[in-house]
Amino acid sequence: MSGFSPIRLLAMLRKESLQMRRDRGTVGITVMLPLIQLFLFGYAINANPRHLPTGLLSAEHSTYERTLVAALQNTRYFDIRPFATEAAAEQALARGDAMFVLDIPPNFSRRIERGERPQVLMDADATDPTAIGNASAAVAALNATVLNRDLPADRQVQPPQPPFDIVLHARYNPEQLTALNIVPGLIGLILTISTLVMTSLAITREREGGTMENLLAMPIRPVEVMLGKIIPYVGLAYVQTSLILTIAVTVFHVPVRGSLLLLLLALGVFIACNLSVGFAISTLARTQMQAQQLAQFGLLPSIMLSGFMFPFQGMPGWARTIGELLPLTHTLRICRGILLKGNGLLQIWPDLWPMGVFALLVGTIAVRMYRETLD
């Protein structure tokens, strides 16, 4: 048996593409998966939710109360509706129908005018702190001067001039839209899921279908099998990438500040990483079930430690060390960098070469692990 043969590789490629095309399920999933995830993460799941249902309890209605409610509404974090009794409000909070309950004390306006600084109680459902975090901050930031317009002149607050101002300048994502942060990350995640899981099934499918024995008995080299099985998935992965990018730009208004070509090239390296991991899993696993589980096992640290789920800077040292070894970590930085910051090759290089090394290393191991016998 001679070395590498392009004819055999082509034969393998043809066979794999035929099988891929016949498998409507796979094609459907590869198109639907990114769409569903993109809309779930980018649209439905908002880490900075607004319009949180808020109950209002008030003993008397006054101008001050109306102004306060209007100010809260204006933050866009609160949708306020009145409740008749405290019990009703309590129940709404317990059931999750209300995230906040605003309790205006009796004699609110009289006590304000007397300068007694009455307390307005705001109950919050803090089971998901991130969901209410920004809204709570908005309450705290309600200016002490919010009622000035309504107050008699002698009660109006005259804040001393602060010695300095802190101006928060949220860069790249000035409105702090979650989609802008999430969508570039999603590109990496979706590509991981589809390429890793699908290639991990590549060899096990042959083994379970009984075709492996025949394949092994024929004169085909491991590297030909590997490339033949992987290349069609590269094509599929690029279809997915284009799909995600198109939606990201048109629906979520993610800017493309850097070079699209550079992004596609960098993603190619990332895809190679995933495919080699998938192929390694594929040679290890005895059944498709095992392969799936191994793939998920490999996916978990990627999702948790890459900076997709939690901010990378917030993770402890050991987690960051592991994170640095994961291709997804680098891809997230590259995607965000190119799309949002307009980074060029020079800036992404520190994240690009580790992925190249990873793909080469794991790919070599995978080909070595491919057994040419049934032992």
């Binding site: 035929l18 016998t373 049934l374």
Partner: protein, 305 residues
């Protein structure tokens, strides 16, 4: 004798602690159809896999087509056509696509013509566009055989090609094996149907991972030195049951309307017949058949171990 297509000595293979092939020595001359017989689990598939390099033997040595089993397995693969016991083609690909795939891997010259020729030869032309998974058992076997001979191998290793197909398909399949042989291919065909031994020029009989007997059908029959009697008449079933427990009787079994009795010692058999006291039975001595020999050998081996 011709050159040997298969020549292995003291082959051994274990899976974990389990010894599956226990010192197998066998020869198959070039150009012959050799029946590889043995019950389920006797080690036929394991042996064939070692012959084509899919399993590495733990011990022993041998050649296949003059090439070393261990070092030249890559070259052996190019000249061998292996038909696996389990159907191993792509169910979602058509007959034609499966054949083309195999042909390309072997880099068969003039692929389109070669594929057309084998499809014609095995009657697959009408089913060229049919997905392999939709073929019935007999047609699947034809596809598998067609794929094995596409690259014109010198040696065919067929692993239970007739298991699970109906009698007509079995007969047709054996006809095709004979055609391949006429084309000059050596054929090693494993089976657990003892009657198929009749269609082989040579027999290798395996039990428990060890050779029981090998040779041409005549050689096997003669080397056994078996004496066989046949009886017809009423009560042959009852007679067979009783005979089995008498000394000197290797086998006593009913085939249709005949009772066949076999053993190594003519005198002992006659004593057994006399002790039966069944005057309705008419006995005569006949030529021993292959299956008599197999059963007797198997019994002897079981008694020995």
């Amino acid at each position: 004798m011709n050159a040997l297509a298969i020549d292995v000595h003291d082959l051994r293979k274990s899976f974990g602690a389990r010894v599956v092939i226990d010192g197998l020595t066998m020869q198959v001359p070039e150009g012959e159809i050799c029946g590889f017989l043995g019950g389920n689990g006797s080690g036929k598939t394991t042996t064939i896999r070692m012959l084509c390099g899919l399993l590495r033997p733990d011990g022993g040595s041998g050649t296949c087509l003059g090439l070393d089993l261990i070092h030249d397995s890559a070259s052996i693969r190019l000249q061998v056509g292996y038909m696996t016991q389990r159907f191993s083609f792509y169910g979602d690909l058509t007959v034609l696509e499966n054949l083309e795939f195999v042909g390309r891997l072997y880099r068969v010259p003039g692929l389109a013509g070669a594929v057309r020729a084998v499809m014609q030869r095995f009657g697959l032309a009408d089913r060229a566009g049919q997905p392999a998974q939709e073929l019935s058992g007999g047609w699947k076997q034809r596809l598998a055989l067609a794929a094995c001979v596409l690259h014109r191998p010198r040696l065919l290793l067929l692993d239970e090609p007739t298991a699970g197909v109906d009698a007509k398909a079995r007969r047709e399949f054996w006809d095709m094996i004979h055609e391949m042989s006429a084309d000059g291919m050596t054929v090693l065909v494993s089976t657990h149907y003892m009657d198929e031994a009749e269609r082989c020029q040579r027999i290798v009989y395996l039990a428990g991972g060890r050779l029981v007997v090998q040779g041409s059908a005549d050689e096997v029959v003669h080397s056994a030195n078996l004496v066989t009697f046949e009886a017809t008449g009423p009560g042959i079933e009852r007679a067979a049951r009783r005979l089995r427990h008498l000394p000197g009787v290797a086998t006593a079994a009913v085939f249709g309307r005949d009772l066949r009795l076999a053993g190594l010692d003519r005198a002992a058999l006659r004593r057994a017949i006399d002790s039966l006291d069944e005057p309705g039975l008419v006995w005569k001595e006949v030529e021993p058949r292959l299956d008599d020999v197999f059963i007797q050998m198997l019994n002897r081996q079981e008694a020995g171990t």
